[in-house]
């Protein structure tokens, strides 16, 4: 439901904003061509699918508690992605823009720390490695 192996259609997501909503905030995460100074050629996303769906569901429920007037949608892509591909899209629509921004930001921040999805980076030198944000934080 929130996970897909197909390319993310952020434009279609945008088109789903309700007419009663004045502010629409969309965040799209895009595969970069480098990370921490190393040139990358692509990323493979792997998920604990059933738990990731459940975690995103709990995340959306928590956001609805905090911002009852905001509607949030989350789509995360899995599998092998190339540079420039969208890996994740978050849509938040709200009567006013402050809530749309806040909910969108909170959604992507929490998604990145709580939803069981992992990424393996492929480097230009042919090597690859699983990304470990806890290790990066210690740098």
């Amino acid at each position: 439901m929130h996970l897909t192996h197909e390319p993310i259609d952020a434009a279609a997501l945008l088109a789903r904003a309700r007419s009663s909503d004045g502010g629409v905030c969309v965040f799209v995460g895009v595969v970069r061509d480098e990370n921490e100074g190393r040139s990358t050629t692509g990323i493979e996303y792997e998920a604990y699918g059933s738990m990731a769906e459940a975690e995103i569901g709990r995340l959306l429920a928590a956001l609805a508690q905090t911002w009852p007037q905001v509607r949030v949608e989350i789509v995360h892509r899995l599998g092998r992605l190339a540079i420039g591909d969208a890996s994740v899209a978050v849509l938040a629509t709200a009567p006013h823009r402050a809530e749309a921004f806040a909910a969108c930001r909170e959604a992507i921040d929490r998604l990145k720390t709580t939803v069981p999805i992992w990424k393996k980076e492929f480097y230009r030198d042919g090597s690859s490695d699983w990304v470990d944000p806890t290790r990066a934080a210690r740098h």
Binding site: G29, Y45, E46, A47, Y48, S50, M51, A52, A54, E55, H76, S87, V88, I108, L111, K112, T113, T114, V115, P116, I117, W118, K119, K120, W130, V131, D132, P133, T134, R135
Partner: protein
């Protein structure tokens, strides 16, 4: 009793398996399974503490009691987005 243990990403590659059925003692907790894995799997022996774990699709601490048929997973640091 038997629980199902899942491995993902770096844990899957380091253990060479994505899923296994394990026999655990009645009254076993998540931390007991981790302790057994630390003894069995060289990669896990280097861990200073138990990584995040999930039982039946929800995060669970080391004291969580396991029941027959539970689905247990130890999770590498998540890095979605």
């Amino acid at each position: 009793m038997t629980v199902k243990v899942l491995y993902f990403a770096s844990f899957r590659e380091k253990t060479g398996r994505d899923e296994e059925r394990r026999q655990v003692a009645d009254g076993a907790r998540v931390g007991d399974v981790w302790a057994a894995l630390v003894r069995e799997v060289p990669h896990f022996a280097a861990f200073l503490k138990m990584p995040p774990a999930a039982v039946n699709l929800e995060y669970a601490g080391p004291d969580r009691l396991l029941r027959e048929g539970d689905e247990l997973a130890f999770l590498p640091p998540v890095a979605g987005g």
